[in-house]
Structures are given as structure tokens and as C-alpha cells.
Amino acid sequence: MAQISTEQVANALADIVRDGVLEGRAVDVPGLGSFHLEHFPSRLSEDENGCSVVLPPRDTVVFEAEQ
């Protein structure tokens, strides 16, 4: 049986985490942490000129390290 390199395992892990997160599921990687998709609504902020702007909502991948 051919040996699996660490790079291959890392790529496979990245694919699994990406697919799970984009599907809206939380992916828990033992020894590392959990990944999930979190939604941030629009909010007020200031731009570089000091003008108030409304930032659009966004979805972000959030990582919570294992304690």
C-alpha cells in the first residue's frame, strides 16, 4: 500500500473542511479546533475619511481553537 504523504492528508482535510463549511455544517478537527460559517449582519462604520458608511452583511468562516 502506497504511503500517504502529509501534504495529501492536508489537502484532503482542507477539502473536507471547505465542503462542510460551505454546506453550513460545523466541522470539528480533533487536536485543532472547529470550523463553521457565521453570518454578520450589516453595520455602521466609518471609512478612512471619517464618514459614516453602512457595511454590507457577510458570511465568514470562523475558527474556534480546541481548548
Binding site: V9, I16, R18, L22, G31, L32, F63, A65
Partner: protein, 494 residues
């Protein structure tokens, strides 16, 4: 370890779950080692892990961020309030900060006041420059801008104080004012270049061309219309009025008369008398109008023309009241009559054919071929007997009465010929058909035969020696025998 993660890992790598778990543990250990040594580590396609005070942080890869935020991709930040206007004081503060003098104390109040004064003086100079430009001939905007620039600079320099902030403020504002002034000057230049309207006499291209029509033309048309109306009223009201008919009026009337007359000729087919009268009157009017056109001083001709026109007017009025009769009716009537005749003929023809089909036909006795199913006749016995003797002998054989009331009497063995008066398919029907002939002084019997495979029961009247005698009996007994009675040879098999 998460079972689902291990299973997915094993499926992707094509290894067993135990090996997938071991590989994952190896990977995690290596990541932690990199974090300890380098402070960060990267998983390609996933992101970067960094060791921070609060713990392990994660920064997603750009592709992963874009894929995760695909729903809101491309949405920009929307400004809530308009940008604040740049006040001289703000600009001064900004410049001070940019100059790196954050700690030095600033004199914003004095600088603002001095800047306002400089702005006011600059505006006055701009106004003076505008006036001068308005008096001057059109010139390139650059020159004007240059003059104004000089003026503004002079004002700016004249108004500035030894204070560095004021100089900087004026120099900062001068270019803006210059641009504004230059723009306004360009607008004024465009206004001065405005071309005068073409209707001015001193226009280089000359005055506008005169219109084709004149108001006087309308007056002339109106006058002519009024004159015509007046003349018509006079003609209608006063038949004997002595009015001078001008050449134009006569010519105008003559074609009108002809047109009306032609119209009447087309419409009224039946009113020939009226048409003729109108034609005559129209002709007279035309004839009268023509010499009038030359002289126009004969009152009698005028009266005739007036009367002709009166008649025409009356006929026109009559026609308007009553609808004109068109020749279409005749065509319709002729077509209708034609169709009626055709219909009647069709009905009669159909009735004739129906009568022919449905009328009862007299039953004709069958007339088979003379040589059909008949053996050669035995003429020996027949020739021995005279034609009348056989009948007499048979009559003598029955002394009861000369009138036969029962069937029988034909000797089949003797042969000969008989006259067939009926042919039935049953013996009972044949016997019934034979009854009317029993009162004849001839033997009547039912003879059996086969014709075309069908057994026929024929009623035979008389027994004759030969065919000629049988036919002679048919002629002799024509009224008593049915039409179509035919002679038949008698055989023993009947």
C-alpha cells in the same frame, strides 16, 4: 476523533479509517510543531493558523472567504451622511497635521479670520476681473485666467500676514478660486459669442426672407366668397331680378348644371321625363349662358338661366328627400325570377322521377328461354290430334258444365303447347292465380317446372297442338289473358 471526519478522510484518500486516523494525527502534530517553531502554519486551501496571546487564530484563505461570502459578494459600503464640507479651519488643521506639527499649538481662530478676509478680497477682485472681461473683445480664456490668476495672487499675497498659516491658506485657496473664475469667464465668453437673430437688419447674412403669403390674400378670398353668396340669394329670391351676371359667374354655373344633369341621368333610370326636362333646361341654360358670357346684358337670357337653375335646385331638393332609384332592383328581380324558374323545374323533375320510381309495376310473368330445361317434345301424339279436337275432347270428358271450375285437364303425356298466364313459386299461389281463368272454355292446370334452379308452378291455359295455335289463342283471348302470356311446350315431367 470525529467519526465522520475520519470516514470522509479515508474515503478521499482511499485508505482504511485506522490509517486515516493515524495520518490525521500525524498532520495535527506537525502543525503544532510548526506553530511552536515559526509561530504560524498554513494548510493550503484552508488558511493560516497563528499563535497569539489569546490563543490560536485562523485566517481563511482568500478563495475560501470568497466562496463563503458568495451571497454578498460585490456589495459596496454605502455612505450614510454626505462628506463634510472643507472649511478653511479644517484644511488648516489638516495641513498642520500633515506638516508633522502635531504637538505644536495652532492658532485656528486667527487663521480662519485672516482666510475669510482673503477670500472676500479675492471675490472682489474676481468681480472686477469679470467686468473687465465683459468690456474687452472675446479672447482666449487662458489670458483671462492668467490675469485673474495674477489678481488673485496679488490679493492673496497682499492680504497675507507674516503668519505662515495664512499664506499657506491663501495659496491653498487661490487655485480653487482661479478655477471657478476661469469657468465663469468661459461662460461669459460664450455669451458674448452669441449670434444675433437673423431678423436684424445689420445681420451679416441679411434679413430673413419674406413669407410667401400675405395677409392681403385672405381679404381677397373672403370678398369673393361673400359676393358669390349674395348673388345666389338674389337668384333664388327674385326670379325677375335684373342683375348683371359676370363672366365668371356664368362660367361657374354652366359646369355645375352639366354635372348635376349627368348625375341625374345615371341615377334615375325610370324618371326619363324628368331627365329629359332637366336636360332640356340644362341645355337651354348652357346655351343661354354662353351668349351671356359674351354680352351679359340680356335680361331674358338671364331669366331663363335663373329659372333653369331654380328647376335644378328643386330637383336636387327632391332627390335629397327621396332616395334615388337605382337599376340594381331590375337586376335583382331578374335574378330572382331566374332562380324561381330553376327551382320550379327542379321540383317538377324530381316529382316526375319519384312518380316513376314509386308507381306500382304490374307483375310480369316470367319469360324464360324457350329452350330452357325442356326436353325434346314428343310431337307424334300432338300431330295426331287437331288443335280444336283436343280441347273439345277434354270438354266432353267433363260433362258436368262447359265452365271449368277445377284445375286439371291438361294431358301431359299428350304433349302439345299451352299458354302460361302466371308463374308462382308455390302450388297454392299458382292455384289461386289460376282461378280467374277457370271460366274459360279451355283446360287450366298447374304445371311444375324448374327454371334457373328454382321450382316454378306455372298456370297453363289450354292445350294446343303447336306453338302457332297457342300464339293464335293468345291473340284471340288477348283481353282475358294477362299481358305477357307466353306459349310453353307441355312435357310429361310437368
Amino acid at each position: 476523533m470525529s467519526a465522520s471526519l475520519i470516514e470522509q478522510l479515508a474515503a478521499r484518500l482511499g485508505i482504511s479509517p485506522e490509517e486515516a486516523e493515524r495520518s490525521l494525527q500525524t498532520l495535527i502534530a506537525r502543525l503544532h510543531e510548526d506553530l511552536r517553531t515559526h509561530g504560524e502554519t498554513t494548510i493550503p486551501g484552508l488558511g493560516v493558523f497563528r499563535r497569539a496571546r489569546e490563543g490560536l487564530t485562523f485566517e481563511a484563505a482568500p478563495a475560501l472567504e470568497i466562496a463563503a461570502n458568495y451571497r454578498f459578494a460585490g456589495m459596496p459600503a454605502l455612505p450614510v451622511s454626505p462628506e463634510p464640507e472643507e472649511r478653511p479651519g479644517d484644511v488648516e488643521e489638516t495641513e498642520r497635521v500633515e506638516a508633522g506639527s502635531e504637538d505644536e499649538p495652532a492658532a485656528p481662530e486667527e487663521g480662519v479670520a485672516e482666510a475669510e478676509e482673503s477670500v472676500a478680497e479675492a471675490e472682489e477682485s474676481v468681480a472686477e476681473a469679470e467686468e473687465s472681461v465683459a468690456e474687452e473683445a472675446p479672447s482666449p480664456s487662458g489670458e483671462v485666467g492668467g490675469e485673474k490668476e495674477a489678481l488673485v495672487k496679488e490679493d492673496a499675497t497682499g492680504a497675507e500676514e507674516p503668519d505662515e498659516a495664512t499664506e499657506e491658506t491663501a495659496e491653498a485657496e487661490a487655485p480653487d478660486l482661479f478655477e471657478t473664475v476661469a469657468f465663469e469667464a468661459s461662460l461669459e465668453d460664450e455669451e458674448e459669442v452669441w449670434e444675433a437673430p437673423r431678423d436684424e437688419a445689420d445681420h451679416p447674412l441679411g434679413p430673413l426672407p419674406e413669407p410667401d403669403f400675405e395677409e392681403a390674400d385672405y381679404d381677397v378670398v373672403e370678398e369673393t366668397v361673400e359676393e358669390v353668396e349674395i348673388v345666389e340669394e338674389v337668384e333664388i329670391v327674385e326670379e325677375t331680378a335684373e342683375t348683371s351676371v359676370s363672366e365668371d359667374e356664368a362660367k361657374a354655373e354652366a359646369p355645375e348644371v352639366e354635372d348635376d344633369a349627368s348625375i341625374f341621368n345615371v341615377i334615375h333610370f325610370e324618371d326619363d321625363e324628368e331627365v329629359k326636362a332637366i336636360d332640356e333646361s340644362a341645355g337651354e341654360a348652357v346655351d343661354a349662358a354662353e351668349p351671356e358670357a359674351e354680352e351679359a346684358t340680356e335680361p331674358e337670357a338671364e331669366e331663363e338661366a335663373v329659372s333653369a337653375s331654380d328647376e335644378e335646385i328643386e330637383t336636387i331638393k327632391r332627390a335629397a328627400m327621396h332616395p334615388p332609384r337605382t337599376p340594381i332592383r331590375r337586376d335583382r328581380a331578374s335574378r330572382t325570377g331566374f332562380f324561381i324558374v330553376i327551382g320550379v323545374l327542379a321540383v317538377l323533375t324530381g316529382a316526375f322521377f319519384a312518380y316513376q320510381m314509386l308507381k306500382p309495376r304490374a307483375e310480369e310473368p316470367e319469360t324464360p328461354a324457350l329452350t330452357e330445361d325442356l326436353p325434346p317434345a314428343d310431337t307424334s301424339a300432338v300431330s295426331a290430334l287437331p288443335p280444336a279436337d283436343s280441347a273439345r275432347a277434354e270438354a266432353a270428358a267433363e260433362p258436368e258444365s262447359p265452365v271449368r271450375r277445377t284445375l286439371g285437364g291438361i294431358d301431359r303425356n299428350a304433349g302439345g303447347w299451352t299458354v302460361i298466364v302466371a308463374s308462382e313459386t308455390t302450388p297454392e299461389a299458382a292455384e289461386a292465380a289460376a282461378q280467374p281463368y277457370l271460366d274459360l272454355d279451355l283446360p287450366v292446370d298447374v304445371l311444375r317446372g324448374v327454371s334457373k334452379g328454382v321450382t316454378r308452378y306455372r298456370v297453363g291455359v289450354g292445350q294446343f297442338a303447336g306453338q302457332a295455335e297457342a300464339e293464335a289463342a293468345i291473340r284471340r283471348l288477348g283481353d282475358r289473358l294477362p299481358p305477357g302470356a307466353w306459349p310453353l311446350r307441355i312435357t310429361s315431367r310437368m
